[in-house]
């Protein structure tokens, strides 16, 4: 059983913690040993947040090593770029085409890099970069805040697992009244990720 290391990067409040739970639980259902690491506290106050998720035969550390991430899932463009050092030439970056300007950019004291710049940066490690308009897809499915679940849908094409496993995990982890919407967002992401 091959190890798969994931790093989920976003802005506090974007739902990285829920997404990392879904991803880890799906791995467990598929028979992997799994561990996650996340940071709470300041997370809801709009700062940079990252979650580590690891699947493997036997996982010791919950933290992914530099240069060892198989997948980087960027909930926001700048946040994906921030974790460059975790990538290697085989890594896949799945990135939401979505900008949340940080305070310095709002104040006009720094500039937000262009899409091309971010792509070049992420590709400098040799891996592949896949773009997805996850926030738009989530909005069509009912709520733009579900962009993380859309990204997981696209990711699910790459890492395997029966569609039903993922849908069941979502059902278990999402509050009952949001299950339908989230499953719909997941499937929309799965479709969008195939192109």
């Amino acid at each position: 059983m091959k190890k798969i290391d994931y790093l989920l990067a976003g802005v506090g409040g974007q739902g990285t913690i829920l997404a990392s739970r879904i991803l880890a639980s799906a791995g467990l259902e598929m028979g992997y040993d799994v561990k996650t690491a996340e940071v709470h506290g300041m997370a809801q106050r709009g700062g940079s947040v990252e979650s580590h998720v690891r699947w493997g035969e036997k996982v010791h550390s919950p933290l992914v090593e530099h240069g060892m991430a198989d997948y980087l899932i960027g909930f926001e463009m700048l946040e994906a770029a921030r974790w460059l050092t975790y990538l290697n030439k085989n890594s896949v970056t799945l990135i939401n085409r979505f900008r949340i300007p940080p305070p310095l950019v709002n104040l006009g004291k720094a500039s937000y890099p262009s899409e091309k710049e971010i792509e070049n940066l992420l590709q400098s490690r040799g891996g592949t970069v896949k773009w997805l308009n996850a926030t738009d897809v989530a909005e069509d499915a009912g709520n733009p805040a579900m962009s993380g679940v859309v990204l997981l849908g696209a990711l699910s094409n790459l890492v395997g697992g029966d569609q039903e496993i993922w849908l069941q995990v979502i059902k278990r982890l999402v509050p009952a009244r949001f299950v339908d919407m989230n499953q719909k967002a997941f499937l929309a992401g799965r479709d969008a990720g195939r192109d």
Partner: protein, 586 residues
Amino acid sequence: MKELITGNEALAYGAYLSGVRVGAAYPGTPSTQIMEKFASFPGVHAEWAPNEKVAMDVGIGAAFAGTRALVSTKHVGLNVAADSLFYAVYTGLNAGLLIACADDPGMHSSQNEQDNRNYAKFAKVPMIEPSDSEEAMQFAATALEMSETFDTPVIIRFVTRTSHSSSVVDIDPDALPPPAKERKPYKREIGKFVMVPGNARRRHPVVEERISKLREYAESTPLNRIEPGNDDWGIVASGAVYQYAREVFPEATFLRLGMVYPLPEKLIREFAGRVKKVLVIEELDPFFEEHLRLLGIQVIGKDVFPIVGEFSPSLIRQAAIKAGILPATAPVSAATPAPEISIPIRPPTLCPGCGHRGMFTVLKEAGVVVMGDIGCYTLGAASPLEALHFCGCMGASIGVAHGMDKGGIPDRLVAVIGDSTLFHSGLHPLINTLYNRGNTTTIIADNSTTGMTGHQHHPGTGYTLQKQPTLKVDLERMVRGFGFSKVDVCDPNEMDDFRKILEDHLKGEEASVIIARRPCALQSREKRTPPRIDPELCTNCGTCLDIGCSPLVQDEDCVSINEAMCTGCGLCVQVCPAGAITREEE
């Protein structure tokens, strides 16, 4: 059944299944979810105490009464509770007392990175440390047995990466705690429980004898074990760091310490005897290292691995390569040189609509020195507000402001403290200001919740941890009851009102209190129509950007509002000097 749960949840579950029926804590990252989870189990009493010392006394009291108890805290909370911990080590208990304490190496959400293993040695209390969720659950049961066998509190140490990491735990869905059988009867033993000098002198030898017995216990407990491997390197590690080291040194021999204090000296010597070199890998202080050196064992430790900051497998690997312990691996080089682009930092900020923003905007404009405290409002120190000039530990603001005043500072001065922090440790310094004839103004930033740690109840919210309605302390009546006669209440985002009250208080010659009351915006989710910015009127002066509200964005030649993020609080409307920002009619 295999389930994925965090270390915090696992500890709470383990405590519950071991028959713990009383829990007390004050929130603090990364420990908060321990008590939140424990509170969700049937048949338990769980409470948010106003601070960690009270929580500790409540836990000790429950254990005196014969009921197993759980106290949880973040590392600095043990400073607050230390006085109580130290007496409980002398008196001993009756039923088991489990203290779960979470350190925060790397200071993800703390004001320091003290290493609480030192408390075990200092207070002479046994400490154990799990390395993942499965162990957190099992160690809870072990700790309670240890507590009752040796008649002592037992500390379970966590760090952020064991508290907030999820791993797989085998859970029996039908498992139930033991029935609430006969409590161990409480006996009135004055010699054991009344720590006057005469009695305490008799208890101290009991404590020393207990630690000797625990040292023997440490030799044979399965919590500590040698994991044989290649004997070129013998690695001593515990907790999360053990897991990192296992990954970096898959072949080495390990001494895995589940019990951090007291240490198993015979086992350590045996281990040192069977390996060529001993490597101690531990985060923060050289706690194991110093002990091994005292035993005369040559070790490599802090000369290779840093004493500051959080560890990770990457950090351990790099440090080991640098010291020649591991061969250099080919660096994961860039395929092409990484383009030079700057990635602006993204620090946490006050939420849109937060009342703390209005408060700091007015304080900044007034030019006062602000002695602050810990909570979301500490973000008032961040750019662009930069209107808070001190934050040390919880409850320090008011006493420090009084001291600055008595020390003769010429500037106008206020103390700012959150409502939860006021109940935690702000009441005594507030009374002190009155008693000792101070004249500082204290602003209570009352958002009616414990915001920073995720919105927990406290004595001013009207609800308990277990969501039962209860008495709600009325802040205004409380401070008037202390003897403050100059007390005003207002919404700090109504800037004119707040400004008038502030100026009036600063003119006065008496100690006074302003209650700046506005419900936490993240909790209330209040949303009104966002204001509009008229691009014709906007002079692009940037004044509104200085309040640091994230929906306000600098565009080409005027400022715009991100409507999805804006709560419509209207603060920016009040600061725009050109009148370009206006409220929509609702």
